[in-house]
Amino acid sequence: MSIWEYANPKKFIATTTPLIPWLFGAAFACLAVSLIWGFFFTPDDYRQGSTVKIIYLHVPSAMMAINVWAMMLVTSLIWLVRRHHVSALAAKAAAPIGIVMTLIALVTGAIWGQPMWGTWWAWDPRLTSFLILFLFYLGYLALWAAIDDPDTAADLTSVLCIVGSVFAMLSRYAVNFWNQGLHQGASLSLDAEENVADVFYHPLLLSIAGFVLLFVGLVFLRTQTEIRIRRARALIARTGRN
C-alpha cells in the first residue's frame, strides 16, 4: 500500500468519486456556518468597523492562491520525476481554481482597501506580488492551452511552474524592497505574538477549512474530468477520424 497506487487513473477515480460529495458537503457546511457567523454574529472592529468582515473571504482566498501554486509545484515535480499522468493533470486542474482564488483575493482586497486607505489600488508589496502571481497563473494556463500534444504540454508547463516558483519568491522580496506599503500585517501566522482577536479568529479558521475542503473537492472533480477527456481523446484516436 503506497500513495503511488493513486497514480493509476482508474484507482484514482474509484477512490475519489465517493469522497467528492462528502468534501463538497463539508465545504458548504463550513462556508455557510462561518460566513453567516462572520457576517452577522461578530462585533464590528473598533477601528475598521464592519468592513473587517470581508476578512472571511479575503484571507482564505489569499492563502489558497499561494497554496494552490505550491500544490502545482509539487505535482509538477512528481510528473517530471515519476511520469504519473494523474499528477500532471491535477496540476492542470488546480490552475483555474488558483486563478479564481487570486482574483477573489485581489478584488476583495480592493473592496476592503477603498474605505480603509481611500484607494482601490495601491502599489503596495503584497498587492503587487499577488498581481504578479496572477500573471504567473495566466502564463501557465496560456502555455497549457497553446500546446496540442498533452505530454509535451505537461512537461513544458511543469518546467515553467518550477522556474516561475523561483521567480515568484524573488518578486515577493523584490517588491518588498521596492516599496513599503499600507497593508496591515498578516492576520494569521504561527509565530506571531498575537493573531486577530478570538471573536474573529474562530469563524475565520472555519472559513479557511471550508475553502480548503472546497479546493480539494474541486481538484478531485476537475482531475477526473481531465482524465475522462484524455480517455475520450484516446478512444477517438483509436477508432479513427472524428
Binding site: V159, S171, W178
Partner: protein
C-alpha cells in the same frame, strides 16, 4: 561554442532589422514619453530612471522570439541538439548572442537617452552599471521563454506573457538603483541584488532552457 556565437552574431547583423530594431524601439519610447507626460524638466527627471529601465526591458523583449525560431524553421536546431555541444551550452551561447546584439547596445545607448529625459547627472554611472548587470538576465530569461515557446504558432505573444512576470525583480532592482543614484543615496544594495539575480539565472536557467528545448524537439 565560439563558432556558434560568431555564426549567430553574423546572422543577426546580416539579417537586418533584428540588430537595430531594439535600439530604434528604445529611442522611440524615450522620445514618446515627454509627449505623453508633458515636457516639464522636473517631472522627466523624476520618472527618467523608471522609463529608461522599462523601455530597455521592452526593447530586449522585442527580439526574443528570434532566438530559436529561425533555427527551428530551417532545421538547424535539431542539428545543434545532436551536435557534441551540450544543449545547455547552446542555450547559454544563444543568450550571449542575444545580449551582444540587444542588451549591450542598449546599455551603451542608455546614457544618451538619459540626456534626453533630463536624467540627474549623478545617476549616469548607476544607469550604465545596472543595465550592464541586468540586461544579461533579460537575455537569459528570454532564452528560457523562447525555448518554451519554440515551434508554437503565435508563440511571440505567449512569450511576452510568460517572460514579463519573470522580468519584474530585475526591473525593480534596476530602476531602484538608478533612482537611488539620482537622489544621491546608497545604490549598492539594488546593484548587488541585480548581480545576484544575473549570476543565479546564468547558473540555473541554461538547464531549464535545455530541458524545454529537449521536450520541444522530442
Amino acid at each position: 561554442m565560439i563558432a556558434l556565437l560568431v555564426r549567430d552574431l553574423r546572422l543577426a547583423v546580416r539579417a537586418g532589422g533584428g540588430f537595430g530594431l531594439g535600439l530604434a524601439f528604445f529611442l522611440i519610447v524615450v522620445v514618446l514619453v515627454p509627449f505623453g507626460v508633458g515636457p516639464e524638466a522636473a517631472i522627466l527627471t523624476r520618472i527618467a530612471p523608471g522609463i529608461l529601465w522599462v523601455a530597455a526591458l521592452l526593447a530586449a523583449l522585442l527580439s526574443l522570439d528570434r532566438i530559436f525560431a529561425l533555427d527551428y524553421e530551417d532545421g538547424a536546431l535539431p542539428l545543434l541538439a545532436t551536435s557534441p555541444l551540450p544543449l545547455e551550452a547552446v542555450a547559454l551561447i544563444k543568450a550571449l548572442a542575444h545580449w551582444i546584439t540587444t542588451g549591450f547596445p542598449l546599455t551603451l545607448a542608455a546614457p544618451a537617452l538619459g540626456f534626453l529625459l533630463n536624467l540627474d547627472p549623478n545617476a549616469y554611472v548607476y544607469l550604465l552599471l545596472s543595465l550592464l548587470l541586468g540586461t544579461p538576465t533579460l537575455s537569459m530569461i528570454g532564452t528560457f521563454g523562447a525555448a518554451l515557446t519554440v515551434g508554437l504558432r503565435r508563440g511571440g505573444l505567449l512569450l511576452s506573457l510568460l517572460v514579463l512576470p519573470l522580468y519584474i525583480p530585475t526591473l525593480i532592482f534596476g530602476a531602484e538603483s538608478v533612482r537611488r543614484g539620482a537622489e544621491g543615496l546608497d545604490a549598492n544594495t539594488p546593484l548587488l541584488m541585480i548581480a545576484g539575480i544575473t549570476a543565479g539565472t546564468i547558473a540555473l536557467l541554461p538547464f531549464a532552457s535545455a530541458a524545454a528545448l529537449r521536450i520541444n524537439l522530442r
